[in-house]
Symmetry: C2
Subunit: 667 residues, 2 copies
């Protein structure tokens, strides 16, 4: 599908590009907020790309084989809104464009996935559009290998700015893309030599072309206002067997005669006078928010071509084996295969029959050994900690540049790109990505975790070595504040299972949460299996539950805990009960899910008038939500230290003795 | 000082390098934990570097003009511990080395600044050693420009591994270093072709030499086991007017005959059998933890040379003007200049006399206009948001490759490198760095913020646009969970001042905290000045205080708030008091500092039996620590949205009405 769509005869390129410029400057002026420089500078490139190359059908914006377009320089959002409106998507309407950056409008300040059809990923946090696009281009290759070139074979186009390429994650992205030879990924760099603080030479003097070449990319330079040069470059890029970068030399804010080429056009409305001058300069007579019929017709003709393309694809899809069709559609819908829940339940029953004492990272691998053969759309991986994260299961072959039929990604020491690529894979829609690193390195990929949450993507983060229990590697590698900092993030399920059964349940919940990413916080060190009775019900689904009810009377104290410390909580409870104090133990694998329960359930687990003591080998921050101010929170208030794990638990007082003492002191 | 120290005649290179190898494999074996591959592979390079080039005095480890050595591949910590012990630092002793990775030993699993003299920065989180070293090399140039080449003129050497160079921050680092032509920065890349998961070709195929060249570096390739080639390459690197990278081709785990060259040597003890075989292979007969006298003498002679070098420098230093000497020493000690507190107090008094209604980011700039002329060691900067962060003050000239006499850094769109460079500047010791970006992008530099906190470095993060008050840029740019996630981090002071007076106080506290980094969380939008009576006392020092006492009786409710929402709290209190309910308003610019107060003070501000309502335009997570479970927390529980700020406050219910309703419902 690398042939070029023929150019409509009656199009004048300038008018089409100027339509983007006019909509951009007018919408930003009306909102009194926004970034006109990029859409005006890149209007020519975008016009050629959409008119001559992009395969899409505005009436079927989620068509699986569409070309993907990512505006990595997301502040230039009026570029994509203009393109989507002009080519005939249902939204944004012209009213939406008039409501640019207003509450409830799909035309958010930065493009937001899920708010506006045709927006493939949320961009704005710089570098991440590019980083995410690598995951999309990878998704395309994986789906191509699995379903064949008749069904999946398309390009992923990215517009990136200097900001994107100065961010470190861009290096992780281009390095990985070059390594995998993602030849259908084409990046158009808006090489305008301007950043917010002024000329790019204030802060950068690198040879961008040389940098991409060193990463194994095909690179070209063009005048970003020369229609034919752009067209020719994109065509060559399509033919390359490497990922391609086209350096498009542009004038930022092109068309604004007094401000173009300066940072003044970057992030503020041009002002009425300059907009008037721009209209004259561009020869654009139409009133604000009016597109002349001939120009609109040209643009709509571009969008209308997609109907035939989509129909031709649909015909091919209809020829597939019906089971393959069903599987393809199930996966696009994000549903899990039949038999998933039964398999998890069988596995839980087996664990109860033959309890194991293993680290929860090992329990995670055991759960994956059950999951991966059934949920064939998982793509596992690790940021170079495969043997530590235990993310690889039997039969998972690596994905390589030569063979995309594998299901395991060696992401390299690139945590941020791994997370962003997983976002791209999840958005792409054919696969469910999971990937591992150490829990402490959630910090390295936190900006992408946030986008998983904001975009409501099912990405599973397998974060092992989740406390001081990591031991000798020391405080640089021991998470302390990470659980709290992740629990504070909206729409992110943090799971910290206490044993193999809870780990299986948390894996199930992670895969069942179609609109929420998950963090699996897993231990380095072994833990006893505390769940010894089989339940069909997924007890972790409520976030917190009574693991051990008080014996010898109504509970006088409740010990709350998560993960590896639940074992300590149970030991403390036993000691207290032996001394005559009935104690309930509540396992809290997910405070996020517990917070979502109704108040009756919460009160049944944590009644108001009973002493509550929490113990967790992480920051105590946030536990007061459950213990109240009369309770006790046992945990970390400093960074950890380098020593064997057992020494550290003792040193930091995260022990059964500490719990017993706290309860006895308070009662 | 680019001449080479002459090579002692009676040294055998192999024995010196093998001493490192033996100590490394033996200490790791005894600890049953650690990473022998790197120290053994890079022993030859390290031997040449320390023996022939490094200027240091083990008896004066904080000598200002020492060469800096950064082990960016921090997992190879036994390399630096070996070098420090062998060259005669007081610590680590041989007992310390025997206690590698044990509690209270200075020989932590990864090198930790402050735990062991000679460790210049904490490393282990990959890429950050290199990123921090750029700040050190920058500090050297700044101090050189200020104090002259007789006082400051030295190299910064870095050993980096593949992991460091795969991390995105490495690109930000090398791009910035190349731009600034930090020619005294010399990076030795341990090019061993191995990562944890296996061969580096599993995940990477970039041309590292080409990449550094594109970033403006001088690059060489050498055999990392060829003493003469290494020596010659470092000499050439010293002479270059660009930063230098030397690709040292090594065999990981060199000397372990059956495991060398494989990932098996990377992160686990070699085992007794392999260690025995290595002793034979290397011809190293000595028992574990024994260094033969002749070898130890050779190494100690290397360290002993530093005494003369230090003495010569001291003589030059003594010739400086006594005021310059005093200033230099004051800054090295981290003390603020005389007059600082008085200037802040004068400024506060002026604000009270002429109240201002400004955004706290503007108030920050106003405070800096007072601070920067007095505290001449500040180095300001921004990650390409100077006009938004308002971090530049009158007369601050940019730092450029041609002129290091400036005090303002255009860090570019490199938040992570900015933070890491600030760590390097703070560690370097001559300057106090502050730098800005949007608060939401604390995520992008969080790994370096964590190292600021762990290393107890005075770095001031100027984080503006700190809530949904940012408005139209939308949820990608609106922090929600960030305050909570940063408050959860140990040894980090998060400040969120409510007006210009509090902003001045928080700036003072940030600069006075010699061992703690600070986050200044500042608003985009304007706020009224609420502090209208002058106090000599810095009221923010206690973290939270009574801003407005209840009138008309003892308080029936307490409203707690921070930053821009304090104004809302005051409005709500007025409305409630007008209706007959006495209400206290507590301003909480820093929950971190409030948590450090004694319980009597805390109870005086927040008595147990009074209803407490918190309001903050961020996640409610964590506020229960102050409101208890009977109180109310008003804030964000979802991501924000793109709209004008006032619409968002209304939409998300962060209003005086919401506070009034909550109080009335509870009372």
């Amino acid at each position: 599908m690398s042939d070029t769509v023929s150019l409509p005869e009656n199009v004048t390129h300038n008018n089409m590009a100027n339509a983007i410029r006019a909509l951009s400057m007018d919408a930003i002026q009306k909102a009194n907020s926004g970034h006109p420089g990029m859409p005006m500078g890149m209007a020519d490139v975008a016009t050629v790309l959409f008119r001559d190359f992009m395969r899409f059908d505005p009436k079927n914006p989620t068509w699986a084989n569409r070309d993907r377009f990512v505006l990595s320089a997301g502040h230039g959002s009026m570029l994509i809104y203009s393109l989507l409106h002009l080519t005939g998507y249902d939204r944004p309407t012209m009213d939406d464009i008039k409501n640019f950056r207003q509450l409830h409008s799909p035309t958010a300040g930065h493009p937001e996935f899920g708010e506006c059809p045709g927006v493939e990923t949320t961009t704005g946090p710089l570098g991440q559009g590019l980083a995410t696009s690598v995951g999309m281009a990878l998704g395309e290759r994986l789906a191509n290998a699995e379903f064949g070139g008749d069904i999946i074979d398309h390009y992923t186009y990215v517009i990136a700015g200097d900001g994107c390429l100065m961010e470190g994650v861009s290096q992780e992205a281009i390095s990985l893309a070059g390594h995998l030879k993602l030849s259908k990924l084409i990046v158009l760099w808006d090489d305008n030599s301007i950043s917010i603080d002024g000329g790019i030479d204030l802060s950068s003097s690198e040879d961008m072309v040389g940098r991409f070449e060193a990463a194994g990319w095909h690179v070209q330079r063009v005048d970003g206002h020369d229609e034919e040069a752009i067209e020719s470059a994109i065509r060559l890029a399509q033919e390359s067997d490497q990922p391609s970068m086209i350096a498009c030399k542009t004038t930022i804010g092109y068309g604004a005669p007094n401000k173009q080429g300066t940072s003044a056009t970057h992030g503020a409305p041009l002002g009425d006078d300059e907009i008037k001058a721009a209209r004259e300069f561009l020869g654009w007579d139409a009133e604000p928010f009016v597109i002349p019929d001939d120009v609109l017709n040209d643009w709509r003709a571009v969008g209308a071509k997609g109907a035939d393309t989509f129909a031709a694809w649909s015909a091919k899809f209809a020829q597939l084996d019906s089971a393959v069709q069903a599987d393809f559609l199930r996966r696009q819908a994000g549903d899990l295969p039949e038999g998933f829940e039964a398999a998890i339940n069988d596995y839980k029953a087996k664990l109860v029959a033959e309890p194991v004492k293993v680290a929860t990272r090992k329990a995670s691998q055991m759960a994956l050994e059950v999951i991966n053969p059934i949920v064939k759309e998982t793509i596992g991986g690790s940021a170079d900690l495969t043997g530590s994260n235990l993310t690889k299961t039997a039969g998972l072959e690596p994905v390589t540049a030569d063979d995309f039929s594998g299901r395991y990604m060696y992401y390299g020491i690139r945590e941020f790109e791994m997370a962003a690529a997983m976002n791209g894979l999840a958005l792409y829609g054919s696969h469910i990505p999971y990937g591992g690193t150490f829990m402490v390195f959630t910090d390295y990929c936190r900006p992408a975790i946030r986008l998983s949450a904001l975009m409501k993507q099912r990405v599973v983060y397998v974060m092992t070595h989740d406390s001081i229990g990591l031991g000798e590697d020391g405080p640089t590698h021991q998470p302390v504040e990470h659980l709290a900092s992740l629990r504070a993030m909206p729409n992110l399920n943090v799971f910290r299972p206490c044993d193999a059964v809870e780990t299986a349940e948390c894996w199930a919940l992670s895969l069942q949460a179609k609109d929420t990413p998950s963090i699996l916080s897993l231990s380095r060190q072994g833990v006893a299996q505390l769940r010894t009775e089989h339940t069909e019900e997924n007890l972790c689904a409520k976030g917190g539950y009574i693991l051990k009810e008080a014996t010898g009377g109504a509970p006088k104290a409740i010990i709350l805990s998560s993960g590896t410390e639940v074992e300590i909580a149970v030991a403390a409870a036993k000691e207290l009960e032996a001394a005559g104090t009935p104690v309930r133990v509540v396992s809290m694998p997910s405070t996020d899910l517990f917070d979502q329960q109704d108040s009756a359930y919460k009160a049944s687990v944590l009644p108001a008038d009973v002493l509550k003591v929490s113990i967790e080998a992480g920051s105590t921050y946030g536990w007061e939500r459950y213990t109240g101010l009369d309770g006790v929170t046992i945990g970390m208030t400093t960074f950890g230290a380098s020593a064997p794990a057992e020494d550290l638990y003792e040193h930091f007082g995260i022990t059964a003795n500490a719990v017993v003492a706290a309860v006895n002191e308070k009662l």
